[in-house]
């Protein structure tokens, strides 16, 4: 089912494959969604404003976001294609290399799944469908990371990471 509003904010979705998977929610964001902990909005805040979770005491840089995924078992890689036994995330950045979004590769479909800010969860066929700089797009993909697919063991690891 198409979403005209979403397509107006991410124009590449008009000609690309995507599907809406949830209602909007301001309670969690893309990192929480990618890590599998949707109880919190994962965000570093300059004044440590409460209501958010960030597992390290770093700033809002790409290195900080990368570190969050590193402690969840991910390592940098160059290949964004689907590979058996491996799950991947992709970090988008804006023109200033400030992180804007994270998408996670779905297993076994090989498509990507994203929580769009305070908006909806979607699956999208390619990472490119959310790239661009004109409206709400997330810039470009700067960093892809991978880890062995852990299945159910992933949940335990995530819970430890969130505590």
């Amino acid at each position: 089912m198409s979403d005209p509003y979403l397509e107006s904010r991410f124009p590449k979705l008009q000609n690309g494959g995507y599907a809406i998977k949830s209602k909007r929610s301001p309670k969690y964001n893309c990192i929480a969604f990618a890590v599998g902990n949707e109880a919190r909005w994962w965000q570093w805040m300059p004044r440590k404003t409460k209501g958010y979770y960030w597992p390290i005491d770093w700033d809002n840089s790409l290195q900080s976001w990368t570190e969050v995924f590193r402690i969840h078992g991910y390592t940098p890689c160059d290949n964004r294609d689907f590979e058996s036994g491996v799950e991947k995330i992709a970090i988008y950045v804006d023109e200033d290399r400030v992180p804007t979004h994270v998408a996670k590769q779905d297993i076994p479909s090989g498509k990507w799944i994203s929580k769009l800010g305070k908006g909806k969860d979607i699956t999208h066929d390619t990472l490119d469908l959310l790239t661009g700089y004109d409206i709400d797009e997330y810039g470009k993909v700067e960093q892809v990371m991978m880890r062995p697919y852990l299945g159910e063991a992933e949940d335990e690891l995530t819970e430890k990471g969130a505590k």
């Binding site: 109880a39 805040m45 409460k50 709400d136």
Partner: protein
Amino acid sequence: MEPTNELFESEGFRAHLFLREEKPARWEYVAASKLTSALTEERLTWKTATVAHESAHVALPKQLTLEFDLEQLFESLATQWREETEHMSNLNKACKHFAYQQIIGMGKVAPRFIVPLILRELELRPDHWFWALHEITNEDPAQPDDDFDGAVDAWLTWGKSYLR
């Protein structure tokens, strides 16, 4: 068509001659307000007339009324912020949005007026107003482990004593 008399070679006179001699049928029906548009279809040199004609139809800048309403301005900024940051995954960027920053600025100048508006907005349409409230009031009543709902509740509870 060349002008018949150089003494009268004004834009208006050339238009008159053109329409009378070459477009008589059109002359009868072309409304005055559309005259210059009709002319520019035929003569590129009359483009300036189009500009003048169109300028009369440009809406005047929206002016604030004398009954300038701070609450109305807040609602306008809040709506703009909510709509333009809906898909921002990085909240640091969303909170740097100019509408959000303007609300913080207004709040620092008039906290007793703006904070209740933010709290009302938080109650009606729960959203990430925590940073703005923290910046304006230098308070942060939520607990370190609070999630979004917990922070909303903490601020609304705090607001009850603030509004007394």
